[in-house]
């Protein structure tokens, strides 16, 4: 390999790419514009709709209770809900989301409270529907308070202290540092986003520098120059890695800034801290480098088979799923880095990045993941070089 020639190719490809409007769009404008926009809209929508949902007095129907005016009066006085007249299809209405919940009060409820029989109140709700779950929580709270009140009155009537109701208290508290809590909640998705961005950032230049060159007829021109095919592929490969890393870093910076901004304006009341240590970000970028190399090499090798840009897209698009799958598994809670998962490409980088963002540096595993990804990347580069030396691939007709 002649590094000088590879660098001549790289510099030319860089100049060529920077003049290409499509690259600028995919590499710079989309990450820089899209993320702030996305976060602003999501932040605005989340605040607006969740605020509205909790403020709304939930529409509820009550079945029974005609012989229990006390509890009914208390319910009517409870401002968080709005009682609609009972209809026979109330269950259906919960499912249709026309009302939020259905309360069933057994016959003789008021009377049973004084004679000491325990009765059961049923709350019907729509699991998974946020507004319905909210209504359920409000009703649950109402009945808990109502029950405590009655118990307290009963104790007072017998001259016993109210503390009997609660012989001891349980207090569970988060004792992890708030920054780690934020990382544990969101940390899995950050490497996921970065891995996808690394891949998509490499996709367009990899196709343009291989199938695109074939299509435009410049591949034959460059092959008649004395540059060795290995130097040619290394030059192109450096360009694709650069594009991949730049896209990822730009997107991350933009994401970080827009998150910080949207947090300040929308989530100011939230006690979840979402500050990530800058050194962790640097460590993640470093761990990601061999993965960007692997992506670049594989994309070049695959896209070179195609005769045209369009054909290359049909080969490369399915690869997106191959990348997303391990990245998404890595983002899921409960999947952890160990000596086995450290061997699986993409998944291992995703998991190790998650650990680093949470502030857990397992040096041995980190070295293993970095080393393994380097091995995969080397295999990828070897494959790309082999492809460029196969004339049936270069001159496929």
């Amino acid at each position: 390999m002649n590094l000088n020639n590879a660098l001549i190719v790289f510099r030319k490809e860089l100049r060529d790419m920077l003049r290409d409007k499509r690259t600028i769009r995919s590499m710079i404008i989309i990450p820089v514009v899209a993320f702030p926009l996305l976060f602003t809209i999501i932040g605005w929508a989340a605040t607006k709709f969740s605020g509205e949902a909790s403020k709304e007095a939930s529409a509820v129907m009550v079945h029974g209770g005609d012989d229990s005016p006390k509890v009914m009066d208390a319910l009517r006085a409870y401002g968080a809900i709005r009682i609609l007249p009972y209809q026979s299809d109330a269950r259906q209405e919960v499912a249709d989301k026309t009302i939020r919940a259905l309360v069933e009060i057994p016959d003789g409820f008021d009377a049973s409270l004084s004679d000491g029989h325990s009765r059961q109140v049923a709350i019907g709700y729509f699991e998974g529907d946020i507004k319905s779950e909210l209504a359920k929580d409000k009703l649950q709270k109402f009945f808990d308070d109502y029950r405590d009140n009655i118990a307290r009155q009963a104790l007072a009537a017998r001259g016993l202290p109210a503390s009997l109701l609660e012989p001891f208290k349980v207090d569970s508290q988060n004792i992890a540092p708030p920054s780690k809590v934020g990382a544990a909640i969101f940390g899995g998705w950050i490497p996921y986003m970065i891995i996808i961005l690394c891949f998509t950032g490499a996709m367009y230049p990899a196709m343009d520098l291989t199938a695109g060159e074939k299509e435009r007829g410049t591949m034959e021109t460059i092959l008649t120059s004395p540059v060795a095919r290995t130097d040619l592929v290394i030059g192109k490969f450096l360009m694709v890695v650069l594009a991949s890393v730049v896209t990822a870093i730009l997107s991350m910076t933009s994401m970080g800034l827009s998150f910080a901004w949207s947090k300040r304006s929308f989530l100011s009341g939230s006690d979840i801290q979402m500050s990530i240590d800058p050194s962790a970000v640097l460590a993640v970028i470093f761990l990601l480098l061999p993965l960007a190399v692997l992506f670049a090499a594989v994309l070049l090798a695959v896209a070179l088979i195609a005769k045209s840009y369009r054909e290359a897209q049909t080969y490369v698009s399915p690869l997106v799923f191959v990348v997303i799958l391990p990245a998404i598994i890595g983002a899921m809670p409960g999947i952890e880095l160990n000596w086995k998962t450290a061997l699986i490409p993409i998944l291992n980088t995703s998991l190790v990045s998650k650990d680093v963002i949470e502030g857990n540096y397992h040096w041995g595993l980190m070295a293993a993941v970095f080393g393994m990804t380097c091995v995969y990347a080397a295999i990828g580069i070897a494959a790309a070089v082999r492809m460029f030396n196969r004339e049936e691939v270069l001159f496929r007709v």
Partner: protein, 245 residues
């Protein structure tokens, strides 16, 4: 100097199986001579020239170009040839100057040599006016000049032209044939392929007729005319290759 010795190329085609694109071709072209490879489409001209340019490697036989072996010293071969065809396009987003410079660098020339060669070539080819324009914005004729400058930047002793006038209009084609003659005047070894009889008649010192991958006849225009008893090259061509194909 180009010497092809039993040069052969077999492709493996999925549908057709083994395809013998070039079958044991031998010929020699000398400096100061234009050698024309005449043949119908698919006769094996492009494959032959691509093997000489080391873009494809032969499956049998071999060749030396400017004294270098195409199999053992491909980089040296490419450093001593200029290869031009209508298929060798230019980078749209580079200017004329950048294009020539890029290929000069890949030839291993230093900056001083490149700028000297560029000013010579741009003057000779009358390209000064558009040297800063991007190739995408150039006319076909201008692009051709850039391609010519690209092939000549390292002043190669051997020029290989693969159907260089294919698809060009009369004026553009004429510029190319003038350029080919100029190369001969500079004592370069020139080989070019075509299926256009008139170009062969006008330009070539010696002719090789290629048919189904084989070199069927070789000689000067007069020799071929005498051998096939016809003044008309087209008749000669049909007599050589028209074995009921």
């Amino acid at each position: 100097m180009i010497e092809a010795r039993q040069l052969g190329k077999v492709f493996n085609d999925k549908k057709r199986g083994e395809v013998r694109a070039v079958d044991s071709i031998s010929f020699t072209c000398r400096p100061g001579e234009i050698y024309g490879l005449l043949g119908a489409n698919g006769a094996g001209k492009t494959t032959t020239l691509r093997m000489l340019a080391t873009i494809l490697s032969p499956t049998s036989g071999g060749a030396t170009v400017a004294g270098y072996d195409v199999v053992r010293e491909p980089t040296q071969v490419r450093a001593h040839i200029g290869f031009l065809s209508t298929a060798t396009a230019l980078y749209d987003r580079l200017t004329a100057e950048e294009t020539v410079e890029y290929f000069g660098r890949l030839q291993g020339l230093d900056s001083a040599t490149i700028s000297r060669r560029m000013s010579e070539l741009f003057k000779a080819l009358d390209m000064e006016e558009f040297r800063d324009r991007r190739c995408a914005k150039l006319s076909t004729g201008m692009k051709q000049k850039v391609s010519i400058a690209r092939t000549l930047v390292h002043d190669p002793p051997v020029m290989i032209f693969d159907e260089p006038t294919n698809g060009l209009d009369v004026m553009a084609a004429r510029a190319i044939t003038d350029f080919i003659r100029e190369c001969r005047n500079q004592n370069k070894t020139v080989i070019f392929s075509t299926h256009v009889m008139s170009e062969v008649e006008k330009l070539c010192d010696r002719i090789g007729v290629i048919h189904k991958g084989q070199l069927c006849a070789e000689g000067t225009l007069d020799e071929l005319r005498a051998r096939y008893r016809s003044d008309n090259l087209e008749e000669v061509f049909v007599a050589i290759s028209g074995d009921g194909r």
